[in-house]
Symmetry: C2
Subunit: 219 residues, 2 copies
């Protein structure tokens, strides 16, 4: 029986992008179903009753939720010959740490930079670039976060890149000036078909963000 793989997703979601990249890295065919997050489908509510969030991977009818859990599930289920996580336990821990860093630091700073106003927004914008500089320092002269090979930390972090133009425009800074190594790493990742196919165009994300902001302000 062929695997049935469905991804409940939303195209601008950095978390959804992680799952898309991992599936493409492993050469898994999947049916990406776009969710309307203002009117979630019964399937989404049934498959992720706890968080009610995308992405949800449905593999032969069984759901896996939370993007980093999904990426690890994909890594452990398909293509053992091209693992995303390294085999050494210490390197695995480092990869997990940096993947988690996006969720703990970048995501909240990013949301605050986008949605707060006034002084709190200014603080968040500065925080966002400071957090990126931590990634710049960690990257150093390595090609990827794990060294020479594209892996788990890269899959988890590269979706940030799709939102760079939004943050640059909003924050009035140039990320390439502040974090040239991060931008070079992002370009390197974008040369992979799995990444290029999974990340939407930065300007499309910007237009999306403007539309959402306009809608929120009108409410």
């Amino acid at each position: 029986m062929a695997d049935e793989v469905i991804l409940l997703d939303s195209w601008p979601s950095a978390f959804g992008m992680r799952a898309r990249i991992a599936l493409r890295e492993k050469g898994v065919e999947f049916d990406m179903r776009e969710e309307d997050l203002s009117n979630k489908s019964p399937l989404l509510l049934k498959m992720n009753p706890v968080h009610k969030k995308i992405p949800v991977l449905i593999h032969n009818g069984k759901p896996v939720c939370e993007s980093l859990v999904i990426v690890q599930y994909i890594d452990e289920t398909w293509g053992p010959e091209s693992p995303l996580l390294p085999s050494d336990p210490y390197e695995r821990a480092q990869a997990r740490f940096w993947a988690d860093y996006m969720d703990k630091k970048m995501d909240s700073a990013g949301r605050s930079a986008l949605w707060l106003t006034g002084e709190a927004q200014e603080v968040a914008k500065k925080e966002y670039i400071e957090f990126l500089k931590v990634l710049e320092g960690e990257l150093g002269d390595k090609a990827y976060f794990g060294g020479e090979r594209f892996g788990y930390a890269d899959v988890s972090l590269i979706p940030l890149y799709a939102w760079f133009y939004v943050f640059e425009t909003l924050g009035n800074y140039s990320i390439v000036e502040e974090c040239p190594k991060v931008v070079a790493w992002a370009s390197r990742c974008m040369q992979r078909e799995s990444v290029a196919k999974s990340l939407p165009d930065q300007y499309k994300i910007y237009d999306y963000f403007l539309a959402v902001m306009k809608k929120r302000r009108a409410q």
Copy 2:
């Protein structure tokens, strides 16, 4: 060469407890060093420059940070004959999902219930018990979150138990009445030496909490 294993920790920390339990499950000798979180040690700041938080596991001089990353590192480094994570990828994903549930839901509701005031605190107290009821439902008639064996999700969730008396007193509810299966599961876990040795007494945590609250209010 014998392994040198140091755990930078703080005894009331639910996150620290996870690392302690995992080390004891694997029979690893370790040196637990209590940190003064109001005056963090140079070693902590050096070993976890990104988050500056406990717990930090230092294995032969190399740091591993973030409690769930630490527990997985311990599981992959020691005692492969008694794994905490199951071998099946789908069961592994479920275990990771429930471990992460504590960090995403219980932790923030718990902090809000403890530190907010007025209406916001009432909402958080109700949320805390609602989130526990989700665990009650997931547990069902299973002995442990993964089924018959104590494992990764249990290690990650059982530290909640050490704080139950604080939440019951504060929230004016009886957790055993609301979530009898969770309490029965906790008692089952407490029969393990690894857990009993790693969780402080509930009344000691309560006294600690009262002292911290008194200090904050005086400031």
